[in-house]
């Protein structure tokens, strides 16, 4: 019989092997994503439907001559009420989709039966959570791009700012948004059913982060709570970058808290994963579905 292929070479070779494993997981996830045709509907229909609900509500409340919109613009400091709404709703959808996609990625593998066979390989186990994040970020980028395109074409929304500053805000938010997703994914493996938690998080974002209204309208205690949610800073910074032509100096007060929240949530996400992995070895949770 031929000898095993493995040589336990530490260091560089090991890192290269782990990166190849991670890339294989990213590639697998992308291939599977594109083989479900429903992704087209998700990418083209959802960006339009959800914000439209708020846009038409705003129009209905603005009075017959639309004068209410001027009050709204005054309150928010924005010069574009549709753009103001779509930034908030898009951030809300981003967090929502991450909780469902990344948050349930391990659980879906568990129910499919493939989690055990992945777990049995010598690859770094956190890669199985990290991998699905790559295609998720790409599809989310497409989602945001399509949102801008659709509202530009159908509602005449025009960007008044730098695309690079928008990208900067998104990059700064990734650790916090996905860190929460990692923590959530690990919990779902243990408790199996966690839809209620998704509803709670997205409810908090919806009410406290001001997805369609300025936070200054909230009671003081709610404004205090909003300060502890990273999405508040993302929405504020994205609006400034997209519609107020804000540059880096203006965005720093939003970027710094986002990065701090990111470090916190990534640490929580990784620690929760390690806890889940240890617990699964004791209870056999990986193979239960």
């Amino acid at each position: 019989m031929q000898a095993s292929l493995f040589n336990t070479s530490p260091g560089k070779a090991r890192i290269t092997s782990e990166l190849r494993s991670l890339w294989a997981i990213v590639r697998r996830e992308w291939i599977i994503f594109t083989r479900y045709p429903s992704w087209i509907i998700a990418l083209f229909i959802w960006p339009l439907i959800f914000p439209m609900m708020y846009i038409f509500t705003a129009r209905a409340l603005s009075g017959p001559d639309g004068s209410g919109l001027d009050v709204f613009i005054q309150n928010t400091g924005a010069n574009e009420f549709i753009g103001y709404i779509i930034v908030g709703t898009t951030v809300w959808m981003w967090q929502n989709i991450v909780l469902w996609d990344v948050g349930f990625s391990l659980r879906n593998e568990q129910m499919r039966g493939t989690l055990e066979s992945n777990w049995l390989s010598p690859a770094w186990r956190f890669s199985h959570l990290l991998g699905p994040t790559g295609p998720q970020i790409v599809s989310m980028g497409m989602f945001i791009g399509i949102t801008a395109l659709e509202f530009g074409l159908l509602f005449g929304v025009r960007l008044n700012g730098s695309v690079w500053m928008i990208v900067l805000m998104m990059l700064a938010a990734i650790p916090a948004i996905y860190g929460l997703g990692f923590a959530f994914a690990s919990l779902v493996i243990t408790i199996k059913e966690a839809s209620a938690f998704v509803y709670l998080v997205r409810g908090l974002v919806m009410i406290f982060c001001g997805i369609t209204f300025p936070i200054s309208l909230l009671p003081e205690w709610m404004q205090e709570v909003a300060k502890w949610l990273p999405q508040t800073y993302l929405i504020h910074g994205m609006r400034a970058a997209a519609f107020s032509n804000a540059g880096l100096p203006e965005l720093i007060p939003d970027v710094i808290p986002l990065l701090l929240f990111g470090a916190f949530w990534l640490a929580v996400g990784y620690s929760t994963f390690l806890w889940m992995e240890r617990r699964a070895r004791q209870t056999g949770a990986i193979g239960q579905y």
């Binding site: 019989m1 031929q2 000898a3 095993s4 292929l5 493995f6 336990t8 092997s17 782990e18 190849r20 494993s21 890339w23 294989a24 997981i25 590639r27 697998r28 291939i31 599977i32 083989r35 479900y36 499919r112 039966g113 493939t114 055990e116 066979s117 992945n118 777990w119 049995l120 390989s121 010598p122 690859a123 070895r281 004791q282 209870t283 056999g284 990986i286 193979g287």
Partner: protein, 352 residues
């Protein structure tokens, strides 16, 4: 290097008993010492524990096929999951290829090829080839070797024509072959196959059994769990029979059968079976290990029993089943099989 590919010593696995699951729970030891617990404001109720594996000892030699045999829930899958590092033993130790399953888990995983969940262990939305390429990367097989290795396995598993089709279009047998190819990708010295022929049609099961025999010829050590007696009999060099978490017998198939060589197996086929007959037959002197099983056809029952001297016992058996609507359809006196050994040892049929 040790002669033993797998060694388990006093392996125990306990799980918290799930309420209403039917687990035979025992109240476990308190989590903390009684002295410490006095200081708690609220007392944690002692967790009821279910012992799935209860002191299993195994010594599997390199190059042999070892069959682990037992009914559903006997503890064979839990044992195999501890050996492949998915589960941590509650107590006891185990080594695979010389590596400890707890402290050297990654080395154990590198030494093993596993088929645990069969066709569910691979991605149905990927092609057969994509699955193998994916798992090759997870097993850290260098990129320059992967293509050649995947091609070899596709050829060997006789799926070349359909390697680029989605797995969801494959038959169960083909999916199982991909799962086995996945286990062979890294050419591991030891294979753990958990119920590899479950759900396969007879032809596919036969092909898979011949593949397992070939793998042994190539030098692999194979730990096979199954609840098909004939499969274990045909393939295994040695068999461990596991029941209620304990290995209750361990020998070659022939050695196990010799244990009841002096016994005869009386096999009846009846219609009109009723529960009273159970006690009647058990009451006949010389009748042991009676089991019944309803055949696929309605109202046709297979009744097996062991007897020291069938000539003396048979007339009394025929007399007991006469009348009351029961009709003897067929009767055989057969040589003991592994199934009979199992019944002799546990008092129940494997399929129970």
């Amino acid at each position: 290097m040790s002669d033993l590919a797998i060694e388990a010593r006093q392996l125990v696995k306990k799980f918290p008993a799930r309420p209403g699951s039917g687990d035979k729970a025992k109240v476990g030891e308190p989590v903390q010492s009684p002295r410490k617990r006095r200081w708690q404001f609220w007392k944690k109720k002692a967790q009821a524990m279910f012992t799935a594996v209860d002191g299993v000892d195994l010594q599997i030699r390199r190059g042999e096929i070892f069959g682990l045999l037992g009914p559903n829930g006997a503890g064979k899958s839990t044992t195999i999951r501890m050996l492949c590092t998915l589960l941590e033993p509650t107590s006891g130790t185990a080594t695979v290829n010389g590596f400890d399953v707890v402290s050297q888990a990654n080395e154990v995983r590198r030494s093993l090829g596993t088929v645990l969940a069969g066709e569910r262990s691979i991605y149905w939305k990927l092609t057969g080839r994509e699955n193998l390429e994916y798992f090759a990367a997870l097993y850290h097989i260098p990129a320059n070797i992967t293509k050649r290795r995947v091609d070899e396995l596709i050829e060997r598993m006789e799926i070349k024509d359909r390697a680029n089709e989605l797995v969801e279009k494959y038959s169960t047998g083909m999916r199982q072959r991909i799962a086995i190819a996945k286990a062979l990708l890294a050419r591991p010295p030891i294979l753990l196959l958990d119920e590899p022929t479950l759900g396969l049609d007879p032809q596919a099961a036969r092909n898979l059994r011949s593949l397992i025999a070939q793998l042994k010829q190539e030098g692999h050590t194979i730990l096979l769990t199954t609840h098909y007696m004939e499969e274990a009999d045909q393939l295994s060099d040695r068999i461990g029979i596991i029941d209620t978490g304990k290995v209750i017998a361990l020998d070659t198939p022939e050695g196990l059968k010799r244990r009841i060589d002096q016994k005869e197996i009386i096999r009846l086929e009846l219609t009109g079976w009723h529960d009273d007959l159970n006690d009647k037959l058990k009451g006949i002197e010389g009748v042991e290990a009676l089991t019944t099983h309803q055949q696929n056809e309605a109202d046709l029952w297979e009744v097996n029993m062991h007897a020291q001297n069938s000539r003396a016992t048979l007339p009394r058996i025929v007399e007991a089943i006469s009348g009351n609507g029961t009709r003897l359809v067929n009767m055989n006196i057969v040589k003991p099989s592994l199934e009979d050994v199992f019944i002799h040892l546990t008092g129940k049929a494997l399929r129970d």
